[in-house]
Amino acid sequence: MNILTIYQKGASLVFALIVLFTYPLNAQNQLEDAIRQLSADNVSGYMQPFLNGFSGNMNSGFSGSAKIDDKFTIRIDAIGMATMIGSSEEVYNAVPPSPFAQQPVRTATVFGDQGAVVQGPEGLSYKFQNGQLDMDYFPLVAPQLTIGNFYNTQLIFRFFTYSGDSDVPDIDMIGLGLRHGLNQYFGELPVDIAAGVFFQSFKIGDIINTNFFSVNGMASKEFSLLTLYGGLQFEYSNMNLNYTLSSSSGDQESEVDLSFSSDNYIRAMAGLNLNLGVVHIRTDFNLGKVSVLSASIGFGI
């Protein structure tokens, strides 16, 4: 997978999300309708791999250097990220509705293929929701603005919005981060070190609202144009789903308001950053509960 592919697929995913949630106008939108059919007991399992991949991506690619001195900096980056989707992300255990046996059944997540079919009384059967996304890896692209450095501190912004007419769900992404250079507190060190904190919010349509929080420590070493960097990150990501079940029987709540968190909490990262004057190219690999490859191209000083 090369950087161009990540960018192409990441941009495609934004487009895909718009298509998924809006196409055709006034008609059903595929993913929202798929979700609305799922009970509160099942929807978190169906969407958990989506959140894991989404949070793996969104908590990536903040910076490629720990060197934050008091020099003026302004930079715009386009960041591409991709999370690997394994076969284990394609299935989960779900419980069918009444009157079928209330036993867990292995069936497709949003990344899986066909939903399982269970047999019930009098020859009746029930099919679980089918998977809707076909991906070996989950790509995403985000724009990022970095401004600084004031008192060895820089601010990071991520922002994306899509607002169509009343038939089209809005997509709103906003992120805010703060990074601080720490070398000033330790005198001479063989590497540059920095710490950062980031908060991001991503809302799609009426039913999906996701928040991402991360804190990281980072070290880097410059070798002429090339910078090697690495770090550790703690992160917490949460998805809220709020919708009315497309139909519900007495044993199910018709209003679903459910929050669940990503499986990613800790990650280690290592990467390379190439500084070519006003052009900056960076890539890193992130290892945690999910593996993320991130790359960016940026312009600025």
């Binding site: 008609a27 059919q37 009444s98 009384p121 009746l124 076909d134």
Partner: protein
């Protein structure tokens, strides 16, 4: 000329994105649950009751956006939604039957015997083992399955008829009795 090139490049980019995007979507149907419900308002001064509701089974399918590829019936539930001034201890017995509109042949779906109102204050599947006194008629379920296999699904007269057994000594017994038919609709979005 420059603007034309830009437009062409833009269209090409959108086309590439659409092709990539299309690769990400599975060619799978979306399964949607849908429900047809109808309510009998029963008010009787004697021990017998009989009410009929005409239901167009196709209407719930027509309400689905997207191309409907398949419809399958999977559950039927009953609920006493209001008993007015009647005693919750009052029980009722009877039968739910279905008859396709324009035909003479009725088919029993479920028989119920001595069911207390209070046992149906929450929605109950007729297949549930939780309540005694309910017996499902297999041929009736097959008939419902067949109705939904028809294209379009037919208009059906559902009749509930039977007797009430007063527990509170009231002159009249009034209650609302709701029946819900659950189907799964496979749609091509």
């Amino acid at each position: 000329m420059k603007n034309q090139r830009k437009t062409l490049l833009g269209l090409l980019a959108v086309a590439l994105l659409y092709v990539s995007c299309d690769d990400m979507l599975r060619d799978n149907l979306v399964m949607l649950d849908a429900v047809s419900s109808f309510t009998y308002s029963i008010d009787t001064g004697d021990n017998n009751y009989s009410e009929t509701e005409r239901v167009n089974l196709q209407s719930v399918i027509d309400d689905i956006d997207g191309d409907v590829e398949d419809v399958s019936f999977f559950n039927i539930t009953m609920l006493v939604s209001d008993i007015y001034d009647s005693s919750p201890e009052t029980s009722f017995s009877g039968q739910l039957t279905a008859r396709q509109s324009g035909t003479n042949q009725s088919q029993a779906i479920v028989n119920f015997n001595n069911i207390k109102f209070e046992d149906f204050f929450t929605e109950q599947s007729i297949f549930s083992d939780d309540i005694e006194g309910i017996s499902v008629v297999s041929d009736g379920i097959s008939t419902l399955v067949d109705y939904y296999n028809q294209k379009p699904a037919p208009v059906v007269d559902f009749t509930v008829a039977g007797t009430v057994n007063r527990a509170g000594g009231e002159d009249r017994v009034a209650f609302d009795f709701e029946v819900r038919l659950y189907v799964q609709v496979a749609t091509d979005p």
